[in-house]
Symmetry: C2
Subunit: 370 residues, 2 copies
């Protein structure tokens, strides 16, 4: 009956043109004009990270006919990146984009907003965050600071970093001066290295001068733009501490509460839209950059298994130690680790066998048309 | 200087509260009221597929203060699913959601909007679609029909299907009556099976009566809801023809062109937002459903490698054969296959070694706190 009445109406010429029902003239002054300022966590040169932030701002402007306007400043233009979380908490800035584990110095819990060492891959982290209770746990914890985070992107597994000399064994790590971020610093330190956190723009000069001997940043596309291949030859994988790194928009809750419902809804959709786009860009562009790097002389190396096994032990000891002093960390980590164990079991049936099967077939006989 | 002026303004008490600048009172009648009707490709029982469509409709309504309203009908309520693409093309319906490979009977090119056998996984397909030129190629081809598609979700690798008896060798496939969709039907037919396309709601009765002896649908979460485990015991993986199946909103271009720019922008963000959410839901819920199915007696089986090698051969022959008759298919497939080859090479460095390493570590010693 439903179908019949629909089709007869359609047959009477009431097709798609009629969907735009009689309505008053468009008036742009409908919702209030809102101006926000956001500091990106990234310099303009990083087209995927800064570009995704720009995409969000443009989408919000378009969707509101220009009435909700966010001015996006590159990293460091308002405050140093290391202070961005604090100025959003203080309410002097409405929003900042970031890789949340930059702020583990404030509290190691910030790592769960980005990645923990030997943690979930992108799909698994996303499932935990969006449907497994992760986002709620993290934002419930953030609420005491008057801020909230919306996940805005994922890089995929990052590379393990650039090294000026090969790392063949655990002994080679001793005394190594390396730029790392997040909780990975604890692991490198436990292994005898000298880790330090340096913002994106300062990594290249430190590596060039020899102030540091190794540095991890993101992956081929971004790392090539920052020029690391010109001052370090060996490029290691996998990024054991960065199996799927999330980015986020940190927003001051008072600023959020002052928004009309329509703007909150548009903001949320626009930021989530970026998650998918960021990952697509990385996946497409990393492969291109890696081929170029290899052609230019970069040597790709896989971390030897004994080093990773040793690091895994340091990571478990670190989680236990932080958890003893920080019950909120323990609560989140228990939840995260339990989800990860189940997610990995499912990946071993779903994604991994498919990928292995395709790689096997391509080795046997390339696909037609390639 | 920028920072100084920002901080002095902030210091003067012009913090986040002041971001809401003086503006006229909110008037809801600003943009025109628009009513669309959309038929979902899925029944209400499939909470992830139908639920993601509902999420999009709700987001659009919220973001426009209720002025852009899409009525969402479950699969089959307006027209049979098999006719949904045609009614959007005819303009009698503004939009329909779908797994585009359902329409390979119209033209095999529709497969590229969803999945092709032995094709890219979710991450790879998404990269090709969003950043590798795939979306543009597909929508350029669709333009002749006056419709366009926006990707709205991904299922991940699907399961290979439910079988009433074990499939141990290529000989066991002979004469097998199996429900499949997309181009996979050609492969099963080449292998001697009798494939047929049946809509979601009709699969269970056909399997129960023995009209078919095997059926693939999606994965543990959806399949459990449709009850297949009650009438078939063996559950195979991987879904060789469905390495990463995309869903989409097919929209009539005249209806699209009649929308104000703000609504187009909101629609696009809302649909893209769903991609990430659908995948998260599947990844979280499939694992839970699979454990329950196994506890209830379902037997998990991996397709024997010789069967997959034989099917891979049939797939390559099929691509070549379709391509000879259909130059547009060949053009898209060449582009797709070339992207896939490069994407797989990158996955073998990025995602796969990380996943393998984590699985290895978890076998050695479970993570702390689990």
């Amino acid at each position: 009956m439903e179908r019949r009445s629909f089709l007869s109406r359609a047959g009477a010429g009431a097709g798609v043109g009629a969907a735009l029902v009689a309505a008053p003239a468009i008036t742009k002054a409908a919702l209030p004009a809102v101006r926000w300022r956001c500091q990106s966590g990234y310099p303009r040169a990083l087209d995927v990270l800064f570009g995704t932030d720009e995409g969000v701002v443009n989408r919000i402007r378009e969707a509101t006919g220009g009435r909700f306007h966010i001015t996006l400043h590159p990293a460091g233009e308002i405050v140093p990146v290391a202070q961005a979380a604090e100025v959003v908490i203080a309410g002097t800035l409405e929003a900042a984009t970031m890789t949340p584990f930059w702020y583990v110095g404030l509290n190691p819990i910030w790592a769960f907003g980005a990645a923990v060492p030997f943690g979930m891959n992108t799909r698994q982290h996303n499932a935990w965050w969006e449907d497994g209770g992760g986002e709620k746990m993290f934002n419930d914890w953030l609420r005491q600071f008057g801020v909230q985070i919306t996940m805005s992107g994922h890089t995929g597994v990052q590379m393990g970093g650039w090294f000026r000399r090969e790392i063949g064994s655990v002994a080679d790590v001793n005394g190594l001066k390396i730029r790392v971020s997040g909780l990975a610093g604890h692991i490198w330190r436990a292994a005898g290295a000298v880790p330090q956190m340096i913002a994106a723009a300062d990594i290249f000069p430190a590596l060039e001068r020899g102030t540091i001997e190794a540095a991890e940043w993101v992956g081929p596309h971004d790392d090539e733009r920052l020029g690391f291949h010109r001052v370090a030859r060996f490029y290691y994988y996998p990024g054991f501490a960065e199996g799927g790194v999330a980015q986020g928009w940190l927003v001051n809750t008072r600023a959020w509460d002052a928004l009309p419902g329509e703007y909150r809804s548009i903001f949320t959709a626009a930021v989530h839209e970026g998650v998918n786009k960021m990952l697509a860009r990385y996946d497409a562009r990393n492969e291109i950059a890696l081929r170029r790097l290899i052609a230019g002389g970069t040597q790709i190396r896989e971390f030897p298994r004994p080093i990773l096994e040793s690091f895994w032990g340091h990571a478990q000891a670190m989680f236990a130690e932080i958890g003893r002093a920080n019950p909120d960390f323990k609560r989140l980590h228990d939840h995260y680790a339990s989800f990860q164990r189940r997610a990995v079991a499912w990946s071993r049936i779903q994604e991994n066998p498919y990928d292995d099967m395709i790689a096997h077939m391509m080795r046997r006989r390339p696909a037609a048309g390639t």
